[in-house]
Every structure is written in C-alpha cells, then in structure tokens.
C-alpha cells in the first residue's frame, strides 16, 4: 500500500500490466520521452523501450486506426489522446470499425484496445481542454466507456480495461489527477467494468455522479447529511456504458428520490439515460421528480467563466434539499 494521486495510480496500472503481458503496448502523442503532457506515462519508455512505448506522429485517427490493426493482430494497445477535445477524429474509427469487428465477424475478430483520454474542466487551459463528452462515446454501441473518480478505482479499472476483450474508452477526470491522494495496494487489484459502486448507503435520497463531479457531490452530501440528519445513498457510476441499471434501480426503489450530477451539458447526457432507466423500472417508487445538476446547454465556456457553469456543491446541496423536501 502506498498513497498516490490518480496520475501515479494510472501509471502503476500500465507499468504492472506491461510487466505481466508483453502484448500490451502504449502509444500516443508525447507519451514516450515527454512521459505524457500530464506525466501519466512516466517511466514507461525507460522500462519498456521504444517498441512498446511509441511516440506517434500527430494524428489521432492514425493512432486509433493503427491500434485497431494491432489489436486484430493480437496486441493490446493502450493509446492516449492528449485531451478528449482532440479525440473526435477517432469517432470515425471507433464507430466504423472498433465497435463492429466483433459483430461483423460474429465473434471471430475482436478489438481489445483501450483509449485513455483526460477530460473535463478545471485546468485553466485553452479551448478544447475542458469539455465532458462521455455521452458522445457512450452512444457508440460496442464500445465501453469507463470514468474513474479516485486513484484506487482508476488503477483497478484501467487494469480491467486493458484485459477487457472489447474496446474501452477510458476517460480520466484531469481535474482529479493531482487533487488528492489515496492508498493504492501494491499488489494487483481489478474492478469489474459494468458495475457502479455504492460509496455509502443511505435511505432518504439517492445521488449519482461520476468522474470529477464526485468531489463536489461528496462535499454537498456531507454537508447535507450533517445539517439535516438525513442519510444519502451515494453512487459512483464508474462505468458509463454498459450501465449498471441494477444498482441504480435498487437504490431508487429504496429511497424513492434521486439526484444526478453531471459535468456535461444537460441535454442528451448520461443523466438523461439514467432517468430513462428509472422511468422504465422504478417510476412507481418515486416520491419526487428526479433532479439533474449539470452544465448548461452551451458550448463549453472558456476557463474564464467555467466556474459559473459547472455544478458546484451549492447547486448540488440545493438539488438534494429540493428533492427530499418535495
């Protein structure tokens, strides 16, 4: 066990998987000599050499397209998009090929690749460095989308993603990269993709979030519980797609109330899908309408204004209050 931040934890997952399995290769822009612009790939080039840690030319579609080829030929590419805002050219290859090889060949061809990408706000950088577009990837059937929230689950989920036989988009909340440390076991730890986690149990309301929004959510929940004496059931979604309906539905059936916190814009987001599932299976249990706390339906603001737009603990607190007191 040692305390580490999310950057170190993700790095540990890659270091260990590369040691175990020589089919794992890492590729992307500036992942080798520079060790990634966030240093997530630190030490990999030194340890595993240029054949396994590849500084590619600057071409996102090229990175994913060649990764698909590598995966078809038995390698396990873990590729990095420098920022999610520069990843959209890969939709072409993900939607057109990575997601479909299995179905297309009735299971004979599979594409076990991982695309890691930092996403979300909070780093005072230029345009395209702060958006949350998990919904875009989640619409691609056949591609899994995972978003960790802490160092420990980031490590354990990335290991699972690398071992997963299907393509996984692994979105890293860069605002949480160095925000805090957590004990991460030295020995192998794997979490199952497709499972949400009940961070703590409660009876009065369910609150669901993921990624960087877990921190303001926890803050609001702590304060709300302390002030009101109510108990909140907090769920960390962890896998966006395929979504763990069971955990969500059971919780909402128990509490009868639900708040969802999402960094992305309001419309057509993951929160909308969660509400649709509650509607399918738990509508009759609801004591109040499900509330969303989200960004607004605007082009992600430059950093000068982003704090006005992203959910904050105050908004989340008010949503809890409104839902419980409905």
């Amino acid at each position: 066990m040692s305390k580490m931040n999310m950057v170190q934890a993700i790095n540990l997952a890659m270091l260990q998987e590369m040691a175990k399995d020589d089919s794992v290769v890492v590729l992307g822009e500036d992942v080798g000599v520079d060790e990634g612009v966030f240093r997530v790939t630190a030490g990999l080039l030194k340890k595993y050499g240029e054949d396994r840690v590849i500084d590619t030319p600057l071409a996102e579609s090229g990175i994913i397209g060649t990764s698909i080829g590598m995966a078809l030929a038995g390698l396990k590419p873990v590729c990095e998009m420098q920022f999610s805002g520069f990843s959209y050219l890969i939709v072409h290859q993900l939607e057109g090929h990575a997601s479909r090889f299995r179905a297309r060949s009735q299971g004979d061809w599979t594409v076990p690749l991982v695309v890691r990408m930092p996403y979300g706000g909070g780093v005072r950088a230029m345009e395209h460095h702060s958006e949350s577009r998990e919904a875009l990837y989640a619409t691609i059937t056949g591609v899994k989308v995972v978003i960790p929230s802490t160092p420990r689950n980031a490590r354990a989920l990335l290991v699972a993603a690398i071992r997963d036989p299907d393509p996984v988009v692994f979105m890293e909340p860069k605002h949480s990269y160095r925000a805090f440390r957590e004990e991460v076991p030295d020995e192998e730890e794997v979490m199952e993709i497709g499972k949400a986690e009940i961070v703590h149990e409660g009876n009065d309301v369910t609150i669901i979030s993921w990624g960087a929004m877990m921190r303001p959510t926890i803050k609001a929940v702590d304060e709300y519980q302390e002030k009101t004496g109510k108990t909140v059931e907090l769920i960390d979604l962890l896998t966006i797609s395929p979504m763990d309906s069971k955990t969500i539905i059971e919780s909402v059936q128990k509490t009868g109330r639900c708040v969802i916190v999402q960094e992305a814009p309001k419309t057509m987001g993951i929160a909308s899908e969660i509400i649709a599932r509650i509607n399918d299976k738990a509508l009759m249990y609801l004591e109040a309408p499900v509330k969303r706390v989200t960004n607004y339906d605007v082009i992600t603001p430059y950093f000068g204004r982003e704090n006005y737009y992203f959910p904050n603990p105050e908004r989340i607190y008010q949503a809890l209050e409104a839902t419980v007191d409905f």
Binding site: V33, D34, A59, M126, Y296, P301, Y302, E314
Partner: protein, 362 residues
Amino acid sequence: MPIKEIEDFTISYMQVLDENGKVDKELEPKISATELIDMYRWMIRAREVDQRLINLQRQGRIGTVGPSTGQEAAHVIPALLMKDNDWFVGAFREAGARLVRGESIVQALLFYNGFEEGNKKPENYRTLPISIIVGSQTLHAVGIGYAMKYRGDDAAVLTFMGDGATSEGDFHEAMNFAGVWQAPVVFLCQNNQWAISLPRHKQTKSETIAQKAIAYGIPGIQVDGNDPLAMHVAAEEALKRARNGGGPTLIEAVTYRLMMHTTADDPKKYRTEDEVEGWKKKDPIIRFKKYLASKKIWDAKKEEALQTEIKAEIDVAVKEFEDIKDLPPEICFDHVFSTKPDDIEEQRQEFLDRLRKETGNV
C-alpha cells in the same frame, strides 16, 4: 520493356540573409527603407508582446500561453504582405501575425485569460479566430479559397500550420482539395523542429515538408524561416500566384521554437540547451537588425526609442485589459444559435436567478 523514369522532382531551399546578416545580392528583394523598418517594428512588437504574455502567465494574471518567440520572420512577414481583403486562417503560433491582421493586444490578453471575447473578428479584416485543433483549419482555408474563386473575389488565403500538423489527415485532404480546385491558398508551414516533444525527424520520414506539395501537384518550397528577406520573397510570390489564378503553394519555413511549447511545458525533458543555444544565433531579429544597420537605416538610438514605445503600448494594453469589468457570465447562452430555443432561454434565466441569489444581488 525497360523501366523508364517518368517524373523527376526537385525541391529548392532559399536563404537571402544569412544568420550573420550577410545578404545574397542577387536574391535581395527591392524593399524601401520605410517598409524594411516596418518589417522590423512588427517583428519587435511580436517579440515583446510574446515575452509579456509569458511574464503575465508566470504571475498568474493570464492562463496558458503558447509562445512564438524566434518564429517572427516566418509569420509576421507573410502577414505584412497580405492585401486588406486577404484571409488569415491561422493556427495558434502566429500571435505577431494576428496583430498585423487587426487583432489588438487587449484581445490577445482576453483570449489567453479564458474569455471568448478575445476571438471577436477584427474590424475590416478577414481574420479567423485561433484554431487549436491541429491541422483542422487548413481545410477551412481551402473552402474559403473556393468561395473566393466562385465569387470572383481576388483575395488570397494565407493559412498556417506547424510541422506536427502535416501528419494530420486534414492537412493532406486540404492540400489535395486545393490542388484539384486550384484554390488561391498559401499553406505556410512553420517547421519549428518540434511538435511538443516530438522532433521533426520522427514526425515524418520525408526529408523536407516542402516536398509533400509534389504529391498534390502544387508548388512547394523550403525557405529559411528565420530570414525575413527570404520569407518576403517566397510569400510575395505565393500570394501573387494565388491572386492571379495560379493556385495554391506550400511554403515550408524552417525555423525554431525558442521557448516552451506552452507555459505548461518543460522542454528540458526532451531537448538540449545546446540545441536551443545554436538556434538562438539564428534569431531572425538579430540578423535583420544587422541588415538594417548595414543599410544605415537603423541605430541604437532608434532601437531604444522603438523599445520604449512598444513597451509603453503594451503597458497601456495590459492596464486596459485588467480594467475590463464588462465580462458578463451569461454570455455563453447568447451565441449557441442565431436565436435562442426556449429551453436555452429558460436555462439562462435560471442561471441568472441563481447568480443573483449567490451574490446577494437581487
């Protein structure tokens, strides 16, 4: 049947003013003293603004900045040769050229401090906002070029990209379309030897970037991008070709990024001080100053006056920028569509009500 050679290609390299300020008399363009001084002034202005941006970032007064120090000849000089109605379709490392094309220092400061206001269109200029998605803007340039031809507008389009951008599909599609359409576009590649940590030789196995033009049937030339006179000759010729119906050109300007990739980058991780020192000797401003001095149109007194004037101008701009109060938080709702759909209007109201409550400004 014997194999026969059916095509034979060559690529030229042009330098007019070497790093010691020595000029090739045969290639030396005829430029008036006033224009030469203007070229120098704009390069100094670019350099000083760039250095101030870095300082302001270091002091936490603005956000991340991508400096262009060392590359002034490669982008400022071509911009100076544009006609008023020409289009500027930039990337992100041509801050000095943007100043030439109508952007104010205050706008640049707003942009780097995270405010969309920094992207507003400069009055009277066809200058597009900074494009951060590497290579993507080159396609826009070609579409604009097509539209100019279609409308019988004689404007040329100048588009910039880095050496790294030449790996993106967008760049190749743009070059190919431009060739097929004979679009009036000048592709200006600032080959500054690095794309963040990736050196030029790992970006492409091509010996030059200029030669990529050959594949698309358009003229390509490699130029000493730290030589203001060579840049003048090459850009003038390419812009003329574009305006006269001769189609696109690719200019590879060989230059060097003397500073970090952005203020968030640490170049010591991937390149040596020796390399940087070597390129400092090739600084475009140093050699151009020597050239002006040899022509007896520049001296220490003029230099001092210019430096003082530009520093004062920047001081005024920084103060103006820091005094700006009118940056309404709700602006993002106003420009999603030409008219606001009901639910965006509703969200805007809710947003404003919330802010009013939070600030107690009811």
